[in-house]
């Protein structure tokens, strides 16, 4: 015959074991759904030789979704072409501003939101020189717009 103390302790332990087993199983199943390896383009990639880019209006690299700016005095800078609102690709207009086609967000020349629903500014990425002389962009390193690479 089990007394009250034993019943309560075994009951508590049993319930705790059951709950944690179910919890761990659910957690494991959820983790299963998160890929361990992403077969996605690398966040850091080479975009070509500095001489490939012209001065003045920026070059849009459509696959990488970045604009590459080259300025005679200040050098290279790279900005994301993905609108932080809902992921559409922005365009660079003659007024030196970025326009999002989806919800009309407008970003001024240094990427800050001037108009529209975008919650954040466009991101500027670190750009560096690789050993072979090519430009390397690292999307994991967000830098202030003033950061430039002189070549």
């Amino acid at each position: 015959m089990m007394n009250r103390r034993a019943f309560l302790s075994w009951g508590t332990a049993g319930t705790a074991a059951l709950v944690s087993a179910v919890g761990v199983s659910c957690g494991a199943l959820l983790r299963f759904l998160v890929p361990s390896v992403f077969y996605e383009p690398p966040q850091s990639f080479k975009i070509g030789m500095p001489a490939d880019f012209s001065y003045g209006s920026p070059t849009l690299l459509p696959d990488e979704k970045i604009f590459v700016f080259r300025d005679r005095d200040k050098g290279f800078s790279v900005v994301s072409a993905v609108c932080p609102h809902l992921g559409c690709t922005v365009t660079h207009a003659a007024d030196q501003k970025f326009h999002c086609p989806c919800h009309g967000s407008i970003f001024n020349a240094n990427g800050t939101v001037q108009h529209g629903p975008s919650p954040r500014a466009l991101e500027w990425y670190e750009v560096a020189l690789a050993r072979d002389g090519q430009l390397v962009v690292n999307k994991d390193k967000v830098v202030p717009p003033a950061n430039r690479l002189m070549v």
């Binding site: 959820l30 992403f38 077969y39 996605e40 609102h85 992921g87 559409c88 989806c102 919800h103 629903p117």
Partner: protein
């Protein structure tokens, strides 16, 4: 000899009495696993078209059409970005009846979203969500959400520009949910952008997970219709009927202490079912003896009407599919966003809200709307179903519905490039790039 064998086989399948007898008519329903979802007899006024417009039934039948056409389409479709669009082109130009079946699947899906919506309106305006049917309304709201989920996951599969950008916008809206948003988005996409992994996951959700869930919910939904007392009485019946008398319940044999009922000795002449000897008050309406003359056998009255509804639905979907093909745009191009990029039409109200504020419009507003829908039967404490006695809730709900429809109309017809306001004929005249 042969006739005898045929008769024996027939009788092994169908055990009922001939349909010319009342017993046969009743047995047709309750001896048949598919038909016994119906009661053997139904109230005559519940069959009136203007009571339900058969909307729930039509919605379910559209789902059946979607399952059949969907399985056929699966025979040609491979969920891989490099193959999916090619398969769509094959379906469109090479497969016999491919365009027709694809169009039927697409238009039936749109029809289902519309019919679920109209069905919910009917149930709301007739007050049919009230006691004892509160929970079935909740199941209905879940069915509505599952229908939207099925439409949304199906949208990506053609892998054209429309599909790709609609899903990019749609999943990014989900990403704004607090705490879980980014994680849900990553699990849904199997990555960080709409790509291979996302296509497979949406395919799995679309052909396996969500349809199974929808069928399970349907089972509960239909079961509860019966257990909650069948269809609600039409409103016009409520007006003429005297206030419903509290039915006098009889307990057979020994009553439980909690059953304040008249006791009646059990009869030796009768076999009692479990329902008759358990004590307590049934929560559902039953057909009272005086209503008996008002009711008819489901066969043929209900089945005939349902068959007509099925036929009209089928003809409607086929007719539209013969005339209007399902759209298929260019191959998905992640580098080029069409201008404007729009979510599927039933999410355009949401996109319109999101265009003003991503968090308030994309997360807070939809969450409040869904919670409010789920809570309606529990918040509305007014027992009356008559329109005149429900002015406040009718006004609130109508404003809610009109606002949602208006947002969808604005998003669909009045938004052009850069999400700027445009006159609606721009879309017809092809004014956009």
């Amino acid at each position: 000899m042969t006739m005898k064998l045929i008769r024996e086989i027939w009788q092994s399948i169908v055990r009922r009495d001939p349909l010319s007898t009342e017993k046969g008519k009743a047995e047709l329903v309750f001896l048949n696993v598919w038909l016994h979802i119906h009661p053997a007899k139904v109230k005559r006024e519940n069959l009136r078209f203007t009571h339900t417009f058969y909307l729930g039934f039509i919605t379910f039948f559209l789902f059946v059409i979607l399952v059949v056409t969907g399985i056929l389409l699966m025979c040609y479709y491979r969920p891989d970005p490099s193959l999916a669009y090619q398969d769509m082109k094959d379906l469109q130009f090479a497969v016999f009846m491919g365009p027709f079946l694809r169009a039927a699947h697409r238009w039936a899906a749109h029809g289902m979203v519309i019919c679920v919506f109209l069905h919910m309106l009917r149930v709301f305006y007739t007050g049919s969500y009230k006691r004892p049917r509160q929970f079935n309304w909740v199941v209905g709201v879940l069915l509505f959400l599952t229908t939207l989920g099925l439409s949304f996951t199906g949208y990506l599969l053609p892998w054209d520009q429309l599909a790709f950008w609609a899903i990019t916008v749609g999943t990014n809206i989900g990403g704004y949910a607090p705490v879980v948003g980014p994680m849900v988005r990553e699990i849904l996409l199997g990555g960080h952008t709409v790509g291979e992994a996302a296509l497979v996951r949406f395919y799995v959700l679309h052909v396996a997970v969500l349809p199974s869930f929808l069928i399970l919910l349907c089972v509960v939904h239909f079961w509860r219709i019966r257990k909650d007392g069948g269809l609600s009485r039409p409103l016009w019946k409520l007006k003429s009927a005297p206030p419903e008398p509290e039915p006098e319940l009889v307990t057979i044999g020994a009553p439980a202490a909690s059953a304040p009922l008249r006791m009646q000795a059990a009869s030796r002449e009768k076999t009692y079912g479990l329902m008759e000897v358990v004590t307590g008050k049934p929560i559902f309406e039953t057909i009272l003896p005086e209503e008996e003359e008002d009711s008819v056998f489901s066969y043929p009255y209900a089945f005939l009407r349902e068959s007509i509804a099925m036929l009209v639905t089928l003809i409607g979907v086929m007719a539209v599919s013969l005339v209007v093909h399902a759209p298929l745009e260019e191959l998905a191009n992640p580098a080029k966003t069409p201008n404007p990029a729009k979510a599927p039409w039933y999410f355009l109200g949401l996109q319109e809200l999101v265009s003003h504020s991503a968090f308030l419009g994309g997360v807070v507003a939809p969450a409040v709307m869904v919670l409010a829908l789920l809570a309606i039967p529990y918040l509305d404490r007014n027992p009356s179903r008559q329109l005149a006695k429900r002015k406040w809730i009718l006004a609130i709900f109508t404003v809610f519905v009109v606002a949602n429809v208006a947002l969808i109309i604005i998003g669909t017809f009045f938004r052009g490039p850069g999400w700027a306001l445009v006159p609606p004929w721009v879309h017809v005249a092809g004014g956009t790039e």
